[in-house]
Structures are given as C-alpha cells and as structure tokens.
Point group: C2
C-alpha cells in the first residue's frame, strides 16, 4: 500500500459528518463492507475494541450472578408466533432458512433476530421450582435483522451482541433487575467508553416487541443526534405464558415466572466513534483502545533508539499498559498522522536526544497537547495521563450534552432545537398521536421519558403533560 494512500483525507467532521464517519471507520481499518449487502467485516483493529467491551461487561455481569451459555441460532418459525407482539415486531426483518442438507425443511427456520423465544422455550424446560430462581443467563453471539439502510456498526443485517435473559419469581424482582441492568450499562458507558448517557423508560411506541416496559440509554453524538446504546426489557409474564415458564412456589402452587432481558451490541463501537472523534479521526477511550500507547522511534536507525523504545514498551507492558512500538519503515511524521487518525490515546516519541536526557515526549490524542516526561518514571507518568484522558473525554462529552439539552414548549421550538443539533425536553400528553406528530413535524422521536416531570403541557396538543420526554433525531 502506497504511503500517500494511507494518510488520505477524511471528510470534514463539521460539514459532512456522515461521510466523516464512513471515511474514519473504513480508513482506520476498523471495518470493511462484506460481499452481501448490509453486512460488515469487523477487522482486527475494530474487533479488539469489541473484545475489550466484552470482557469489561462480562466481568460486571458475573458479579451480578449472570452465567454465560449458548443457544441455537436457528429458531422454528412457529416460536416467533407464540408471542403476538413479538412476531409482529420481528417477522418483517428476519432471514429465513428454508433448505438444509440438500432438502427443503418441513418448517422454515428463522435466524435469530433476538432469542427471547428459544431461550424462553429452554427456560420453560429447566425451571421447576422456586429453588431454580432467579435464573440469569447471557450469551455473546451474532444476530440478524434484515435492514434496508445500513451503516457499519450502527445498523447492519448481522451484528454481534450480548443478550441476557432472566426469570424471577416476582414481577417486582424482574422489574428491579431491568432497572439495575440499565444502571450497570450506564456505569459501563461512563467508566469504559467515557461516554455519558441519558437513561429512562421508553414510550409504548418505542418499546421492544413483546415487552411490558423497555428502558433505554441514549448517547449524544457529535452532530447532536441521539444513538440508542442499549436497552433492557421487563416482560412481565408475556413470555413466561407463551413458553410455559412455570415453577412451584415455596407454598407449593404452580405459577408463571416473570422475565426480563437486556442487550448491547457492536453498535457501541459506532457510539464511541461518534462521541469522541474529531477532525483528525478516531479518539479512542483508553479502556477499549487496542493500543493505549504507541511509541514512535525518532531517528530509528541510530544506535540504541529501537532498543530504548522496546525497553520502554516492555516496562509499560509490565505495568499493564497495551503498547505498540511502530518500527515500520515509514517516517515519524507519517506515523504521527496514522496513529492520530487511528485514535491511539497516547503517543510517545523517543529519539537519541530524549534518551540522552532521560526523557520522552508524550502527546495525548484528546487534546493534542505535548508534554515531556522523565523516562525513569514512565509507568507512573503514562498511567496518570491515561487516567486523565478518561476523565477529560467524559467531561467533554458530558458538557456538550448538557449544553445541548434544551426545553421546548411548542412544536416550532422543538423543531428549531433539533435543527440546531440539540436534545429537547418537552411535555407530552402520553398520546401516540402527539408522538407521531412530533416525528412528522420535526423528524424527532421520543428517546426516553425523563424522571423529572417539570414540563406542564404537551408540546404538541397543549393539553396537560403526563411525562417530560427527551425528543431527538436519532440514528
């Protein structure tokens, strides 16, 4: 690959954000388009981010008593129809296996768009007594939803995710677990993706097909649009009744369980790109960056330089830092550009003069600030900077979101606000017609219901508001 090919232009982030996104994800080799329309290949640089997301979330799930398992990908079509709303929501976008092993199947099989039905079926088989509850299982897997308009990470026909499914003896426990998992997700977004989110209940229109209540977390992207970053669903007894998840209670009576589910996907990678990225490309949050530090040797051919770089890398690795020495033939300037575009949180430059003076030059990607640090305490220096980058990325995103949440009392105000790249807080009467009208008028949807109820009248019909809702244009 020719050098001048690599550090090519990315579209301007302010004037053409959609193209900026496409340029960034493709040129930094996070992802590529698959041969089938709407599919993506997650390349090593992108997959490493997913692996960090997975291991960080997985640890949190385990601490909450969740166990991992794996359920079959193909679901009998008849399962989907057992829960009326569920089939209505998912049937239009499933991929269907009709032939296998050289013959037509008796019953078509659906590639899972989500696994409530097949997991409900198995839970119905496994749950017998109150002693088996709560039952909390999770799987990391691929799912498929046939989408018309697709974009890498944000919306693709196949994507990777985790889906957790639990059964509880009471509705209170299941509902509490639904909110607890939402809080877990939000904390994860803050601590691992350095990304603030708004959390809250979804409206009836926006809820999961088959749920009693859906809760979501929404993040504000660079362009002021909202991205749904994860959802948790309280199912009541809907799926328990459809799949006979029954248990004998302490008092000896047979009763239906209460279920809940929750999921986040490779979409989170899109979210962090559009939250932190800047004109030069990716800005990766350190906890999920494939490399937290890249060391660029200066005057690499000079004796001792590469050795010093490698020795420094070894020390940082010992200290638990993910570090790469870029010993390729490219010039330092080329390497600077490349790793800036690829969003590595810290760049260390180390040359003969640095080595002589026992120092190193460090550039942080978030602010592009350069500082000199003593080589002798590189571990402490680097780890303090990484910590600061995390805090600073979060602060910056949080400040942007807070200054871009505005209240609106009328549809015109709402439209102006979303046109200006804001989230809008507005009163809502609770009627679907008003929600639809907001969508039609301003291309904005109800993202989540705010816990505060301080907007007195519906932004659409002017009647008494039932809730205060965050409206936004959304990915």
């Amino acid at each position: 690959m020719a050098k001048d090919n690599f550090v090519s232009q990315i579209a301007d982030i302010e004037t053409d954000f959609p193209q900026w996104y496409t340029d960034v994800v493709i040129k930094t080799k996070l992802v590529d388009y698959g041969p089938v329309k709407g599919t993506m290949v997650i390349r090593p640089y992108g997959y490493a981010i997913w692996e960090h997301i997975r291991s960080e979330l997985d640890r949190r799930f385990r601490e909450m008593g969740v166990e991992n398992a794996y359920f079959p990908m193909l679901i009998p079509m008849s399962f989907l129809t057992k829960e009326a709303e569920h089939v209505e929501g998912f049937a239009p976008e499933v991929a269907v296996v009709t032939h296998a092993g050289g013959a037509k199947l008796e019953e078509p099989l659906v590639v899972r768009p989500t696994s409530e039905t097949i997991i409900g079926h198995m839970f119905g088989k496994w749950v017998e007594s109150w002693r088996d509850l709560p039952l909390r299982q999770n799987q990391w897997c691929n799912v498929m939803r046939w989408e018309k308009t697709t974009r890498p990470f944000l919306r693709t026909s196949e994507f990777l995710w985790q889906e957790g499914h639990s059964v509880f003896a009471t509705g209170e426990e299941a509902e509490a677990a639904t909110q607890q998992m939402l809080a877990c997700y939000a904390e994860f977004c803050k601590e691992v993706l350095c990304m603030p989110v708004l959390t809250g209940r979804k409206t009836e229109k926006e809820k999961f097909a088959g749920a009693v209540a859906t809760y979501g977390m929404e993040a504000m992207m660079h362009d002021g649009k909202s991205l749904q970053a994860g959802t948790t669903h309280y199912m009541g007894q809907n799926f328990a009744k459809a799949f006979e998840i029954q248990f004998t209670g302490r008092e000896g009576t047979l009763q239906y369980g209460y279920t809940m589910s929750y999921g986040v996907s490779t979409r989170l990678i899109g979210a962090l790109i559009m939250t932190h990225g800047d004109a030069r490309g990716l800005v990766l949050p350190p906890p999920v960056a494939p490399y937290e530090v890249v060391i660029v040797p200066i005057a690499m051919k000079k004796e001792g330089v590469l050795d010093a770089c490698r020795a420094l890398a070894d020390r940082l690795k010992q200290a638990g830092v993910r570090v790469l020495v870029d010993d390729s033939d490219n010039s330092p300037g080329w390497k600077f550009n490349e790793w800036e575009m690829k969003g590595v949180p810290l760049r260390i430059e180390l040359g003969p003069r640095d080595i002589e003076q026992a120092k190193m030059t460090v550039m942080r990607r978030d602010t592009l600030e350069k500082t000199e640090l003593p080589l002798g305490s590189a571990e402490e220096g680097v780890s303090a900077l990484i910590k600061d980058i995390c805090a600073s990325l979060y602060r910056r995103a949080e400040a942007r979101m807070q200054t871009r949440i505005v209240n609106a009392g009328s549809l015109d105000e709402l439209l102006r606000a979303v046109d200006g790249g804001n989230f809008v807080r507005a009163g809502w009467c609770g009627e679907r017609a008003c929600e639809d009208k907001v969508k039609e008028f301003a291309q904005a949807t109800a993202r989540v219901i705010d816990e505060r109820e301080d907007m007195p009248t519906c932004v659409c019909c002017g009647k008494k508001a039932k809730h205060t809702v965050f409206f936004a244009r959304a990915y």
Copy 2:
C-alpha cells in the same frame, strides 16, 4: 428438582459407552437438546469449559502473531463454487437462507460451514504487497453443517469453533505454518486438556475439501475409538487463485499468495469427556474445569463451619483457584455424588473436627483418593494436587493409548485389533481402493499417516507399502 432425581443412574461405561456419554452430558447439565433436530444448547457448566478452552488457545494464537476478526456468517452461494473441490465437499451439508426481510433473495445465501471462501474474498481485497504478508487472522464463531446423525458436542448442525486463516508469500512458509499450528494444538491438548493425541498428515480421501494437504490430531476415547480433535490445512494457491489473493513481491512482480487454515471446535469438550470420564461420570481436567475445587461443609449448621469454608474459599481464590462452596440444603453425601458426577477435580470436606484440628480432607476426583492436608498451607497443598492431577490424567490416557496401538499385517489382524478397541498401525500402498476396502472390511478409517515408515507391505493388497498409517474406528 427432587433430590433423588438428580443423582440418578448413569449407564455403565464399559458395557454401554454411547448411553453413558449421553447420560453424562445431559445429567451434569453440560448441554441440552435444542428444539430443532440436531442442535444443542450449551448450558453454563458446559459453556464455562468452552470459555477456558477459548482463552487458553487464544493466548497461544496471539503469541504466534494471529489477530482476531469477525467475518459475515452468510456467504453468497456463488462463492462456494469458486473452488471446485470445496463446493463438492460442503454443498450437500449447508443450510441456505432463501428469504430475508419479507422477500425472496436474488441469490441464495449459505450459512457458513467454514469461511475459507468469504475470508479469501476479503483477503483478496486487502492484500496488495509483500509488506502485508504474512496475514494471520482468526475468528471465534458459530458454523453450521447439516448432519444426519448428531450427538451433543461430537456432531451437531450448529457448533462453535475457531477458524484461523493465513496468507503467506511462499508455499514453504504456509506449509510450515500448517505444521506449526498442528504442534500448537497438540501441545494445547496435552497441557490444557491433559489429553494425548496422535498427529500426522491425512490421506487424500480424508483431507479438507479444497486443500493440498490436511493434518490432523486424533485422540483415543475410552472405548478405543478415535476422535478427530482438530485439523490444519495447507491450501497451496487453490484459494488464492479462486479469490484473487495477489501481492506485489519485493522484486515488483504480481503473484498469488499461499494460504492455510486451521480449526478446533466444541467437539473438544466431547473429546475430553470421553478421554477422562469414568463410571461415576465426568472427570474434568483442572485447566478447563468450571470449578477446580468444591468445598463441602460438614455439619454445616454448626457455628463457624460455613464461615471457615468461605474463608478457605477466599484464600484459594486469592491464590487463583476457581472454587465453589456448596452451601445448598442438600446432605454432604448428596453433594459428594453430585460433584463427583460433575467431575470437579478436587473436593474439600471441612467440618467442626477438621477446623478444630486445623486440617481438611481432600478427595481427588481422578483417583478417588482421600488425604488430609493442613489448613494452614491449603494454597500450596491444593495447587500441588491440581498439578499432580493434570500430570496423572495425561499419564493415564497416554498409557491407555500406547498399550492400545497394535501393528497389523493383514485385514484379519486389523479387524481383530479394532474390534478389541485398538488403534492399528499398518502398511498402506497409497491406493484409494485399499483404503476403501479397509473401511468396508473393518469399519476403520485412515486417521493419520505415521512419520515412521516401518510397515513394509500394504495391509490390504500386500504390495509394497508407501506409508504406515494409523487406522481406527472413529467418531
């Protein structure tokens, strides 16, 4: 679940090994049958084993420079046909998506039975120059092969695996990598599964569809049958030519790369069960056991017992041991049976008298031997025992395999030997007709070609032998 249900009978391992296997995998909750014929649900106790296998192998791959990625699951049917042998081998067993998003697809899509074609397509896009080589990527994913006769872990329509795919500039490098990965697999089997394997090249008949050469590792199961535990494939330029994987060499000419691939699957779980299991059920190798140690409190209600058990568990966890305190309401005897069936490597019994005497009773699952160890040095005692269990499991399996490899000079000798549950070493002329005849006569197949060539005549036709081959009945 009633107590007497749980510790139910397992079929006799010596007289009905197939039923023993089914009983063990179902009753220990490793796995359950999925609703679609031939599918399995991997339950948490089984999935934890897979997670250990994955993390141990993944670490080894990374050390060899392999990067993880993720490729789309649906492959255009036309891709399969680009490599003539490949389509012949896999077309009969693929599952096909014909409809998606509510409409019939223009081209049917195949659920990946393996990903040589789609990865070849992407590699063809990515590889441009010798600087891009070697290219080594791996994915952990689900694959699907529609099988007529299925058994949990051993043969199911969907299974989990890893598939590694690499491109090299020369055939020598690709061929060397194929053998190097086989050695990596064999070492993994020894160190992590405590399972000896025979390794070697496969015959033309047994090789991967589209490969120049396939190498395999074979393990001897309890019943003397062989199980193919993993394979590596040298493809030459077959897939490079089919998918235009071309690079500009150092000297400036455009040339085709050489590819290789390798894979192991959830089948390894079946292999370790049938290698180490005994009349009482599972015997899990410590490196992949969900719990290495279970602590059973004796006289649990007595003051201080449960606290002492938990304190001991905390100490062992600190020392990196995976440990569970069974504080359920069941009797100690019931717990002993349960955890023996579930194959936990070490059981610690701790009761009031033990605590008083600052000792603990330890039973190792492999030999069922009980010993007393001082509580004060529990960490050292437990870790020494775990190490010894690993060595002892391997030794036992290795001894069984070695005593059950016999040489045969005629078809009758070969038949008697495999009837007796042996692997057979025999000369082979290299002709497919003789290989087929051995299969027909003794239901034994050529597992791998031995490196030694000490059998002078073909076991079938009596002509000069080209190779010495391991024949066996196989799963």
